[in-house]
C-alpha cells in the first residue's frame, strides 16, 4: 500500500481504483480491519463475507491490471441489508423463520452493484422483516449506534446505517417502507435516500408492504449516495412496478447536478412537521437548514400540508394490511423453518408461531384485522382514501415549492428499551417519513449538526415523483453548510 492516506468516500475510491492508483484489495483490508476492531460492539452485520469480498476485490484488481474498467463502484466496499436476496448466501430478514435460507437468486440491486465493481462485505442487521424503528426487533440481537453505543441506531435499516457510520463500508443498501432508510440515517449521522417508488427495482427485496417498499443508498456524503443511486436505478423487467427508463432520465443523472446550487429554488418548510411532537433542538436545526438554503439563494417559505396529520394512522393500516398478505408465504412448506405437526394446518401454525417475533406478529394481526370482514371499509378502505388526500395535498404544495424541508425524525437517537413496551410510541418515530412512502415520492435525510444531547440531527428533503435531481442539488448545499456533528446545539 502507498504511504498516502487512503480515500474514504466511494467517489474517491472508485476513481483511484479505476485509475490503477489504488488496489481494491488494499481498500478492502482497511475496511475489514475496521470491522474486526468494532463489530463485536456494534453488531451491524448478520454475516460478514470476508473471504468472498477478498475474492471479489482481487477480481476487480485483475480487471484493472488487464486494462479493463470494473465500473462505477470499482473496489468500493458495500454492506447489504439482510432482506435483499443474495444467491447461495444466507438471507434472514433478521427472522428465525428464514434462518439458514440460501436464496436461489440475487436481488436486482445486488447484481447491479456487483456488476459495477462494488465489493459486498456482508449482510446487515435489521428489525425483523423491516418492521421497526430501532433494530431492537432483530431475532439476532440489536445493532448499537456507533456514535453512542447506549443508543439505538434507528431502524429498520439500523445495520446498514451503523455500518456506514462506523466506517465498515463507505456505502450500503437499505430499504425504506415508512422511513427505514432515512430515520436510521438521521440517528447515525449519515446520508440516506428513499428514491421515487419504481425508480429502483424491488426484485429480490423480500416484501414487507409492496406498494411502499423501495431500495435506496446510505453513505457519508451526498455525492456517494448520488453515485450509488445512479448505479442501482433503472428499469428492471423482473419488477412490474419499475418505471421505464425513458421516463426517469433526469432522476438518474445526479452527480452532474451536485454543483448547480439552489438559486431561485423554492423550498417549503412544512408547518405540520415543525410543531407538536418535534423536539425543540431538532426543529431548531431544521430552521437553521432553511436559513442556509436561503443564504444560498433559495426562496424559503412555509407550507401547510393538512392531510399529513392522518399519515401515521393511514400508514399503520395500509402497511400491516399488505404485510399480513405478503407474510402469508411463510408457511413452512417451500423454504425456511418448519415446526413439524400431524397436519399441514397445524404445521403452518406451529411454524409461524415459533418463527415470527412479537412485532411481526403484532403487524400481521393488525393487518389481518384491518382487512377482515366488517372492518375493511372502516379501516383499510378509509386509509386508501386518506392516501389520495395526502397525494392531493402534496400536489398542491408542489405547485408552489420545488422541494420540502422537514425533520427526519422527531428526536435524536433514543436509548435501548425506551420505546419497546409501547408500540405506538415507537410508531410515532415515523411521523415525518411516512407521507412520502404513501405518495411514492423521493426523500432523503442528511446530517445537519447535533442536538442538545450531542447526537446527530437529520434534516429531510422531499421532492415530487422523479424529482431526485432537484432534491440532491439542495442536499449538496445543505451538506456544505452543515454544522460539525461534534458540536452540540447550545
Amino acid at each position: 500500500m502507498s504511504n498516502s492516506v487512503l480515500p474514504t468516500t466511494a467517489v474517491e475510491i472508485s476513481r483511484a481504483v479505476r485509475a490503477g492508483e489504488l488496489s481494491a484489495r488494499d481498500v478492502l483490508e482497511v475496511h475489514l480491519s475496521a470491522i474486526d476492531a468494532r463489530e463485536g460492539e456494534i453488531n451491524a452485520f448478520n454475516l460478514v463475507l470476508a473471504d468472498e469480498a477478498r475474492a471479489a476485490a482481487d477480481a476487480v484488481d485483475r480487471v484493472v491490471a488487464g486494462g479493463g474498467d470494473p465500473g462505477l463502484l470499482a473496489g468500493v466496499p458495500l454492506a447489504v441489508k439482510d432482506n435483499l436476496c443474495t444467491r447461495g448466501i444466507p438471507t434472514t430478514c433478521s427472522s428465525r423463520i428464514l434462518e439458514g435460507w440460501r436464496p436461489p437468486y440475487d436481488a436486482t440491486v445486488v447484481s447491479r452493484v456487483a456488476a459495477a465493481g462494488a465489493i459486498s462485505v456482508g449482510k446487515t442487521n435489521l428489525d425483523e422483516f423491516a418492521m421497526g424503528s430501532s433494530t431492537e426487533n432483530s431475532a439476532f440481537g440489536p445493532t448499537r449506534n456507533p456514535r453512542d453505543t447506549s443508543r439505538v441506531p434507528g431502524g429498520s435499516s439500523g445495520g446498514s446505517a451503523a455500518a456506514v457510520a462506523a466506517g465498515f463500508a463507505p456505502i450500503s443498501l437499505g430499504s425504506d417502507t415508512g422511513g427505514s432508510i432515512r430515520q436510521p440515517a438521521a440517528l447515525c449521522g449519515v446520508v440516506g435516500v428513499k428514491p421515487t417508488y419504481g425508480l429502483v427495482s424491488r426484485y429480490g427485496l423480500i416484501a414487507f408492504a409492496s406498494s411502499l417498499d423501495q431500495v435506496g443508498p446510505f453513505s457519508t456524503t451526498v455525492a456517494d449516495s448520488a453515485l450509488l443511486l445512479e448505479a442501482i436505478a433503472g428499469h428492471d423487467p423482473l419488477d412490474s412496478t419499475s418505471i421505464p427508463d425513458a421516463e426517469t432520465g433526469a432522476a438518474r443523472s445526479l452527480l452532474s447536478v451536485l454543483d448547480d446550487g439552489v438559486a431561485g429554488l423554492r423550498v417549503g418548510l412544512v408547518t405540520e412537521l415543525m410543531g407538536e411532537g418535534i423536539a425543540p433542538d431538532v426543529a431548531a436545526r431544521v430552521r437553521q437548514a432553511a436559513e442556509a438554503l436561503a443564504a444560498a439563494g433559495a426562496e424559503v417559505g412555509e407550507v401547510s400540508i393538512p392531510a399529513l396529520s392522518y399519515g401515521l394512522s393511514a400508514y399503520y393500516l395500509i402497511a400491516p394490511a399488505e404485510a399480513s398478505s405478503n407474510l402469508a408465504r411463510y408457511d413452512g412448506v417451500r423454504y425456511g423453518m418448519r415446526v413439524d405437526a400431524d397436519t399441514t394446518a397445524a404445521m403452518n401454525t406451529a411454524t409461524r408461531t415459533a418463527g415470527f417475533g412479537p412485532e411481526v406478529k403484532r403487524r400481521i394481526m393488525l393487518g389481518t384485522y384491518a382487512l377482515s370482514a366488517g372492518y375493511y371499509d372502516a379501516y383499510y378502505g378509509k386509509a386508501l382514501r386518506v392516501r389520495t388526500l395526502i397525494c392531493r395535498d402534496f400536489a398542491a404544495a408542489y405547485q408552489n415549492f420545488d422541494v420540502l424541508l422537514t425533520p427526519t425524525s422527531p428526536t435524536t437517537a433514543f436509548r435501548f428499551g425506551e420505546k419497546t413496551a409501547d408500540p405506538l410510541s415507537m410508531y410515532l418515530n415515523d411521523i415525518c417519513t411516512i407521507p412520502t412512502n404513501l405518495a411514492g415520492h423521493p426523500a432523503m435525510s442528511l446530517p445537519f449538526g447535533a442536538g442538545a444531547d450531542g447526537m446527530p440531527v437529520g434534516v429531510q428533503l422531499m421532492a415530487p415523483a422523479l424529482g431526485e435531481a432537484t432534491m440532491f442539488r439542495a442536499a449538496a448545499v445543505l451538506e456544505a453548510a452543515a454544522p460539525d456533528l461534534s458540536e452540540a446545539l447550545q
Binding site: P104, S309, A314, Y316, R338, V386
Partner: protein, 100 residues
Amino acid sequence: MSERLSRDDVSKVALLARLELTDAELDTYTDQLAAIIDHAADVAALDLADVPPTAHPLPIENVLRPDVVAPSLDRDEVLSQAPSVEDRRFRVPAILGEEP
C-alpha cells in the same frame, strides 16, 4: 367502530393469521392492538365517500411482456432449501387431518 377491539377479536384474528397465542400474549396484544386501532379512529371517522382510494402510488395498467420461453430458477437449487422434499416435490404433512 365505536366498540373497542376485544380479546375475542384478537383471538379470531390470530386464528386467521395462523398464529397461536398464550393467554398472557392475548392480553398484551389486545391492549397494544386496541391502542393502535384507537389511534386510527381519526382516519376511520373521516367522511371520504367522494374521495377515490389509492392502492398504489403509480398509475400502472397491466404490465405485459413478450410470451417468450426463458430459463426459470434451478429446480434442484430451489428444492435444496425446502424443509422436506420427496420425488422432487415439496413434502407436507397430511392435509385436513386425514391419516398419512
